[in-house]
């Protein structure tokens, strides 16, 4: 049984395939931000509480500060950079803009990924389901109401 301290891994991020050698101790968020220069996913608390680092890993919403990069070998990852097309925001992103659902913007990438994951699974969530879906994402501007309204608008 191989026990490794580093390994070359392959990941597909937003449709692009990357190969990188990573140390076993490297967190997924650092692979994304530091190795792949995808700095849209943020590090807020680094303790798994704030959700600013949320990404979709193999169709599952996760906090990328609590996943090792080496665990993502062979995985398909979606980050906030993958949401919009060249010029076109997603309906959810447009709703965030229309409803002033971002103030400082720090939590926004994580909020967008959580809401994206929600609307994929449940295109018409109830108010309670929206609130539950972003429970793992903290907005320190406390602008939750506009975020809630934006997700609701995007679901209609």
């Amino acid at each position: 049984m191989d026990v490794v301290t580093s390994q070359t891994i392959g990941v597909e991020v937003n449709g692009t395939t990357y190969e990188r050698e990573v140390e076993a101790r490297r967190l997924l968020i650092h692979l994304l931000r530091d190795d792949l220069d995808l700095t849209g996913s943020h590090i807020g608390c680094d303790t798994g509480n704030c959700g600013a680092c949320s990404v979709i890993l193999d169709r599952t919403l996760v906090k990328s500060c609590m996943v090792l990069a080496i665990q993502a070998d062979g995985a398909s990852i979606e980050t906030v950079e993958g949401l919009a097309g060249e010029e076109q925001l997603t309906p959810l992103q447009q709703a965030f803009s229309d409803h002033h659902a971002l103030q400082c913007g720090y939590c926004t990438p994580g909020m967008l990924m959580s809401a994206t994951a929600l609307l994929r699974e449940n295109p018409k969530p109830s108010d309670e389901e929206i609130a539950k879906a972003i429970q793992g994402n903290i907005c320190r501007c406390t602008g939750y109401w506009n975020i809630f309204e934006a997700i609701k608008a995007a679901s209609e």
Binding site: A24, D46, T60, S114
Partner: protein
Amino acid sequence: MLLSEVAYARPATLEQALGVLAEHPGARALAGGQTLVNVMKARAASPDVLVDLSGIPELKGIELGSDGTLELGPMTTYTELIGSSEARARPILGEVCAQIADVQVRNRGTIGGNVCASDPTNHLPPVMVAVGAEFRVSGTGGERTVPAEEFFLGVYMTAAGPGELLTKITIPPGRSDGFASVPIGVDGTCIVNAAASLNGGVRVVLGCVGATPVAVEPASADAEAVRDAVRDADLDPPSDVHASADYRRHLAEVVAARAVERAGKGS
């Protein structure tokens, strides 16, 4: 954050996993990582090798026997359990898992990780004791079955010792269970929690009031009888920034009575 240097293995079979654990005394099993990775960031644990259990099919899955017995693979995530039609045979399981943390944590965190962490504030240890779960513990020397009330040995300590793994959780049939807690914020860490089961007698198990779950058996499901039983248990809970020991003793009576009331409604 940069973790301390650590090695990594992702075995494909239980035998390989037990082999790595046996070869490396400083190795630790990595389940969903929603506790261990943070503990490593804080340098509160510094394993030499992480043995990632996510590639072992036999540790996954939920099976419902014809008599209503549930067999849970310990690497089942909270989200998988919540969505499992089989797991509805014992509704309290999904109900409590849905109260743990948030979507992202529930997507990665596992049933086995929750119990093996043996954090006194975790949700599942009191639930497992209340429903009479049995844990299969496997090592290179063989396997044994440990009842839930003997599994939790102390803070962060369980009957699954060095080199061993929790490999199956068996839940007997039953429906009249209830859970109540006072958490820090909705679905946050519990200040005090209680699980109750009325499947033949009244069994209430309190969490967060000692190093391990505390079981009490009230004379009846009457609220006063439950509160008396909790008072008679002479609890010695910790005091911290969230609650004094006295307040925890008070909350223990309250949540125990609520858990029994919910169990009476069939939960």
